[in-house]
Symmetry: C2
Subunit: 369 residues, 2 copies
């Protein structure tokens, strides 16, 4: 080891296997918490980068309390089982975004040995981004995010507690549920949207230039995640095929049903129903901070497209004592002006509008009701 | 009329029928340009609101040069034809988001009279938002946006010129093409994404609460437009059924193809191909300002969630002489910290990173390549 790690009260020892975006971020968070962290990765470059970022030291067989396996989904079960065989003591958890298949793989690799299986508990932090790599890691990657933990029948109380501890040390909110429930949920909230975004973006590849010229913000929003990694998504989709395929069929069926109605020129009711059902679903998405849906007020402001204008706007917002909950930039392509939508607490809308108007900003909307 | 409008050199007279979001915005833009604008709307409340916003005066039969029909798609052809019958002189254009059906309707209502048809030319400004109403109108709604104009065989040079003039006066970029081409393009770039967003959001309506808890930014992005108006979308979808239904079938087919491969547990290649094709399509979406796709660098910065922090960040960005091309807020729900991604020109990334680091900001990424 190149350098000794400072001891800390209550400090624990963690091995992170897989120094990509997720593993390195977890390691950084654990280091920040004063814990001893070692890293391992089959990719020497990833490992070197993660170490140089201060995420931990190269693992050379040191004993640890918990092992976090953060390798690609397809390799997870094998690495988990190998680690359990190799280390007769530590709890082993993982971060793969599919859980039932990993569980099956671990169980098979350990031949159903309950003593060994008692030290494994699956995990999945709901964080990440389109682009990976240790250089994009950050200690607060999981701050405030849900971190699903999927205990098995065999999982010991200690192992479950260790997995919760990892999630909490990373600033995440541990959320325990069976692997099957996790996979069913993620099929709908993550894997299906990814397939749909890719399918929508793929249609653009076949279009003439005119069509692309007429592509607006809606299409951009709906294809952002299409930038994801093909092999990673192949692993996730095949690993959760039993949940994902029916979800894809259900979505296709609802689109085909409407398409069929449209053929008859009587599709109005079907489209109205679909859009109305969508509005119902939309209202169920929880708001910022993972809590109940909160209704923010939107204050839209015209801003000239030059250095400093947005800073001035946000400075004036802060001077009004108003905290920004969210912000959206709507482009005005071709002209040096943009629309910034400031989302603030409902009860701050009036105050902010008054303050910004007094400072000469052009507001373009009324408080939402 | 309550008040006289000031005359202006080169000023023209325009009637806007339909004082909703689009009509009122166009009227505001034309007024700003010094033109005389009258308004008409079957909805007295809309009309009153638009007048009080300064969009124009109530029309009482005054002669005009151009009439802009900005009523819901299903009423457009009727109102266009009625106006052409009533006023033997003015050019009539519209703003409906479907064009071939409106054209057919106008032609039928005017019994194919070429003299009358010569004064009509379809139009569609690519602007708007999920929520409508005159109180959300703004003069720069169309600034820099494409405004498609769909001349027919019968359309006179004068009428075409008038429609282009309306678009240009509203700050938009006129883009002439046949109605069929417009409808084919919009089916892919607007109507299909809307149906998909609604279908995705509708699936959420049927899920248990756990699933909603696991809904992240991807799903939020992909369902934002699902807030649209059911009746408006029913009109648009049925009005463009011949283009939309095949696009919905094509998307469904690509999803079903992958779902079928997933059933066989051999779906890896199919998913990989789909995601890779999506990445190809994504690269074709034009960048900001409607021009060629530009590749921006992303500078991600951690910002505390309290008044003034974002202002300070953008102030420091401006002080570095760097113009912000785009900005995305990534939430860290539950914790007082957020990730702000600043998009800037590639050649400004290094300068900005240095400047922000010097000022004590925490950057979390390397320059994208």
């Amino acid at each position: 080891m190149a350098e000794a790690q400072p001891p800390a009260r209550g400090a624990r020892r963690v091995l992170v296997i897989g120094a990509g975006l997720i593993g390195t971020s977890a390691a950084l968070a654990l280091r920040r918490g004063g814990h001893a962290v070692w890293l391992a990765d089959a990719d020497a470059m990833n490992l070197r980068q993660a170490v140089s970022l201060g995420a931990g030291d190269v693992h050379a067989g040191e004993d640890v309390d918990v092992t976090v396996v953060a390798v690609p989904p397809r390799s997870t079960a094998g690495v988990v089982a190998e680690r359990i065989e190799m280390d007769p003591r530590s709890t082993v958890t993982d971060t793969a975004s599919i859980k039932a298949e990993v569980e099956r793989g671990v169980r098979a690799a350990l031949s159903g040995d309950t003593a060994k299986l008692s030290r494994y508990v699956g995990g999945h932090p709901l964080a990440g981004r389109e682009r990976g790599g240790p250089h994009r890691a950050r200690a607060d990657m999981f701050a405030g995010r849900a971190w699903v933990i999927t205990p098995m029948e065999e999982t010991s109380a200690q192992a479950l507690q260790d997995a919760r501890w990892i999630a909490a040390e990373c600033g995440a909110v541990p959320l325990a549920m069976p692997a099957a429930e996790h996979d069913r949920a993620l099929a709908v909230t993550s894997h299906l949207p990814q397939m749909v975004a890719s399918a929508l973006a793929a249609q653009l590849a076949r279009q003439p230039d005119t069509v692309l010229q007429l592509t607006g913000q809606a299409m951009r929003d709906m294809t952002r995640i299409a930038a994801g990694d093909p092999q990673l998504w192949a692993d996730i989709a095949t690993g959760n095929a039993t949940e994902l395929a029916p979800a894809m069929r259900e979505l296709s069926a609802s689109l085909l049903r409407v398409a069929g109605e449209l053929d008859s020129r009587e599709g109005g009711a079907a489209v109205r129903d679909l859009v109305a059902a969508g509005r119902d679903g939309l209202r169920r998405i929880p708001g910022k901070h993972g809590g109940e849906t909160r209704s923010f007020g939107i204050v839209p402001v015209l801003v000239e497209d030059r250095p400093g204008e947005m800073a001035r706007l946000l400075g004036d917002t802060a001077a009004a004592g108003v905290n920004l909950e969210d912000l959206r930039v709507e482009h005005a392509p071709g002209l040096p002006v943009g629309l910034i939508e400031l989302a603030v607490a409902e009860d701050a809308v009036r105050r902010l509008r008054t303050a910004l108007t007094e400072r000469g900003w052009t507001l373009t909307d009324e408080p939402s009701v």
